[in-house]
């Protein structure tokens, strides 16, 4: 069988497994799997920027969190229907991306990283500091789940809802990275000047990638607000941005499946380690250092190396 056929078989098997999952495990793990799905989407959205366009953002939590907060503010403060708040949240995330992108895209490399980081911290500081609106550190409970003809209030039905949303979003991203636009992004990642010379408007491509990336992060953020029925400033905090970054790098930047695997692993580890010790941040730091030193191209990179070594034999 060709590699393409194998990956198709793999995709069908994974999908079947994901659909059958609630029948196989306890509800607690269905909840954990829902979180894995949401963060898989978040990591994939960051990879549009990091892996495909070559722009390392350290502030991706801003777009995730602004969507969560939009839902919470509309539902809790304004009494808007929870389902109606969903598109508003996506618009908010994309709009924030459209606002920050021109600032961040003034720079590259380390400056880009610093600027995205600093801008995200501004959003965090507003959510943290504006107590009358956001309850500050206490966060906002009371977010309801949307009602689309059936209730999403139990773990299993929400899992299927998240699976459907994340699935559709992942397919959209797959279509984007395989389109001529996606190829142009990879060209820009390799060499901006060459793409410029070929007549591509590099800035516009990067801008579009930035906004799209923010948009998909917003979908993840909206789902997470529904999932927890709660929103807090930690959704916007640098630790959240950092987790997304390590999910992408652990899995393997420049693919979509890599970040999804990385996200599932990090969510699982966080859950597992948090049950043993309070020092998740310490362990996260160690994971960072170890992954960077031992597997700089992520698990996918290790896998590719392994396949190449086998084919040489």
């Amino acid at each position: 069988m060709t590699a393409r056929a194998w990956s198709l078989v793999g995709a069908v098997a994974v999908l079947a497994l994901l659909i059958a999952l609630p029948e196989m495990v306890r509800p607690y793990y269905v909840g954990l799997a829902t979180r894995m799905l949401i963060f898989a989407l978040f990591a994939m959205s960051l990879d549009l920027l990091l892996g495909y366009t070559g722009l390392a953002s350290l502030g991706h939590a801003a777009y995730f969190g602004i969507a969560s907060y939009t839902i919470a503010l509309l539902v809790v403060r304004a009494g808007v229907d929870s389902g109606v708040a969903f598109p508003a949240a996506l618009v908010a995330a994309a709009a924030l991306g459209a606002l920050f992108a021109p600032l961040a895209l003034r720079a590259r490399g380390s400056y880009f990283l610093m600027i995205t980081f600093a801008l995200a911290q501004v959003v965090w500081s507003v959510a943290f500091g504006w107590r009358t609106l956001t309850n500050g550190d206490d966060g906002m409970p009371g977010v309801t789940r949307p009602y689309f003809g059936w209730s999403l209030n139990n773990t299993i039905s929400f899992y299927y809802f998240a699976l459907a949303v994340v699935g559709v979003a992942a397919l959209l991203m797959l279509a984007i990275v395989r389109s001529p636009f996606g190829r142009a992004l990879r060209g820009i990642r390799e060499s901006e000047s060459r793409m410029q010379a070929l007549g591509y408007d590099v800035w516009r491509h990067q801008y579009a990638a930035f906004v799209l990336s923010a948009f998909f992060a917003g979908i993840a953020g909206a789902l997470y607000a529904y999932f927890n029925r709660f929103v807090g400033p930690e959704y916007l905090y640098v630790v959240q941005s950092a987790e997304a970054l390590i999910m992408v790098i652990l899995g393997g930047a420049g693919t979509l499946i890599g970040p999804a695997i990385g996200a599932a692993l990090i969510v699982f580890l966080e859950d597992f380690i948090s049950s043993l010790t309070e020092h998740w941040v310490l362990v996260l730091g160690i994971i960072y250092v170890l992954v960077t030193v031992l597997a700089p191209r992520g698990l996918i990179g290790l896998y590719v190396d392994f396949c190449q070594r086998r084919s040489i034999k």
Binding site: A107, S110, M114, V122, V239, L282, Y288, V289, V293
Partner: protein
């Protein structure tokens, strides 16, 4: 008169920011490493100083031990974790990020979650009368320290042999190496000095800003704003940016307390639009 007080406060805070940003900037200028562990060097340095001060009661000893300890820590991190990724920006940043988390959690473990305040050293207790107001000696001491360190760094860079080597390394590390300068040693040295400056800032900030979990991330953001405004890799930029941010921040806190960070970030955004590499930055 309140204006004078605000400006003095801003300059004092700006001097602390200068110590931080100078190290960040020197390290980036020579090695192109964006050192996120800089926030940890500040906080852990401050905490070490606090512990030494509690044990011995000597502020000078607290400064000395914290600076030496953090310099050694910096040297170890550079030698064993960063050198292997020479000029590969993303992995270097990730490693320094990992250490930021590691030290953040470890210091929470060791020194707890409550804000801790260093005592103002005896000789700097009290304040200078200034019309209706009075101004604490210690903050004036901060300003003097900042000016002294800025002068020393300038002298080191421009007038000493090692400084000349450093400038050569910043301009072109390959050629500097070919001319027989031990650039690798220079890297470790500069990283250690940068870390030491951050620790110095941490101990000096202890009696004014106090030390608490999360301060590492907070000062890092301020240092970022400083180097974004002033430009990475330039001492002049670090000084100008630090004074600018220090003063703006003080006025912002006084007049718009709810949106304190905004008053710093809006000018940053404006400068970014006009000059993406900062006022004194180089490409």
């Amino acid at each position: 008169m309140t204006w004078v007080i605000h400006i003095l406060n801003g300059v004092a805070f700006g001097m602390l920011l200068f110590l931080l940003a100078a190290g960040l900037s020197l390290i980036y200028g020579l090695m192109k490493i964006l050192n996120l562990t800089h926030g940890s060097f500040y906080l852990v340095g401050g905490y070490i100083g606090l512990t030494v001060m509690q044990l011995t009661g000597s502020f000078m000893l607290a400064l000395g031990i914290a600076v030496v300890a953090i310099a050694l820590l910096g040297a170890v991190i550079e030698r064993f974790f960063l050198r292997r990724f020479h000029l590969d920006e993303l992995p270097q940043t990730l490693v320094t990020f990992g250490f930021l988390f590691i030290f953040s959690d470890l210091s929470l473990w060791i020194w707890g979650g409550d804000p801790l305040m260093l005592n103002v050293p005896h000789i700097f207790q009290g304040s200078v009368p200034m019309g209706y107001y009075s101004y604490p000696y210690y903050r004036l001491f901060l300003i003097v320290m900042g000016v002294a360190v800025a002068g020393a760094l300038w002298w080191f860079q421009e007038k000493t042999r090692l400084g000349t080597m450093l400038r050569a390394g910043v301009d072109d590390a390959e050629i500097a190496r070919a001319l027989g300068i031990n650039v690798s040693l220079l890297f470790t040295l500069v990283f250690a000095v940068g870390a030491a400056l951050a620790a110095l800032a941490g101990v000096l900030a202890g009696p004014v800003l106090s030390l608490y979990p999360g301060a590492d991330f907070e000062v890092l953001i301020f240092a970022f704003v400083v180097v974004i405004v002033g430009g990475l890799g330039s001492l002049r930029g670090a000084l100008a940016g630090a004074l600018f941010v220090g003063i703006i921040d003080d006025f912002g806190k006084a007049f718009f307390p709810q949106f304190a960070l905004f008053t710093v970030f809006v000018p940053m955004a404006v400068i970014l639009v006009i000059r993406p590499t900062g006022l004194f930055g180089r490409r």
